[in-house]
Point group: C3
Chain length 159, copies 3
């Protein structure tokens, strides 16, 4: 009886613990959007004509000047795209992984390492830190997703 | 007894209500793909050589003519990308949010505002309506996701 | 009693069966990232300055040479983007679909066709096979997602 309650508390805590890390990672990804907008507004590097107009480009010449490709905007956009490419698989496989009932410490370890690697990846991308810091942090995050996928597939195959 | 049934019905209805809005938003996002293809086929603005060939580009000259960058294709693609960047976080956090057991009216309000803001965002992007209509609708959608994430994190922290 | 157990086993198997196909599709999508990096490293076609530096671009001239746009890199990136645009809606609607309790064979059929169509799509994109093989495989995958969304919305509307 006591064991049952304990394991339920553990299960709940495990889920709640992983939920907070998952939420933080997804919020970090969502935050990349406004960050790109900030990098667009500061040097006035827009890609849609209506944006250039809204920021005061009245005549043809100013319009062309405001519709430029800015290296730092492209840099933030690539960082955002890398987030999408890595956090989306983590969301799907992380959900299936928590459904397999992993033990608390292992699940938290996976989610903590992933959250840490993605936050470090963004810092390494945006500063930018010299390579291979960015590449390695991306690989660590992928490793976490593969480790969770391995457990999911192993359990599914045994049933 | 009666209360229990009622709350279950409510919970079910809440979940079903949010499910329909979630499905509509995701279908809207999926629909952007064929829309981009439509914008590609009409002015024959392809990006892959095999597509230009499939649409009748036999000689070298026609091939180069068909492999152009068309502003309206790029416009639809950016709209699609913005959908991915905002609807994906909504999917993840919206799932966690419904698991926290919010009450019916609040949950429906969140999902309705999000679905409405994203549909309006696509219209504002594709017409295009003058700014800041597109920017504001994007911000409203983000606000919904942040509001749901706030509830999820608040409940997780208290446990 | 026996029926109940059987249906539970069926439900479990159905879920597990779909989980394995879902995991495979998501892993395939995640794998596109390292594949893009491979296509970048071989002809040395980088997009970030720190990557060119890490691969031995010391002077200004080599840097510019390494910062080129390579058609095959762009090709893999488009394939990856198409995965994101189609597998993300599948993840969301596929989850809701399994929650509606479809019968085993129908659910497995949906997930198998989707997994097959996406794997064939990547092959058709990367070889590349002549059109319309790529376009048709993409349409088949979309059809599966629409079919699942139809069931979800039908059940939600009836309640």
């Amino acid at each position: 009886m006591f064991e049952l309650i304990d394991s339920e508390v553990f299960l709940a805590y495990s889920t709640y613990g992983t939920i907070s890390y998952g939420t933080i990672v997804v919020l970090k990804m969502l935050f990349m959007g406004p960050l790109t907008d900030y990098f667009r507004v500061t040097p006035k590097a827009f890609v849609s004509l209506e944006d250039a107009r809204a920021h005061g480009a009245k005549d043809e010449e100013t319009k062309n000047k405001y519709m430029q490709i800015d290296p730092s905007v492209e840099h933030v956009k690539r960082c955002h795209q890398n987030d999408l490419e890595n956090i989306v698989p983590f969301m799907g496989i992380g959900l299936l992984y928590t459904l397999t009932g992993p033990d608390l410490s292992t699940a938290l370890l996976h989610f903590r390492i992933f959250a840490g690697s993605r936050i470090f990846h963004s810092i390494a991308y945006l500063v930018p830190l010299p390579q291979p810091s960015r590449g390695l942090s991306c690989l660590v995050g992928m490793g976490v997703t593969f480790s969770m996928a391995y457990r999911v597939l192993k359990i599914v195959m045994h049933l």
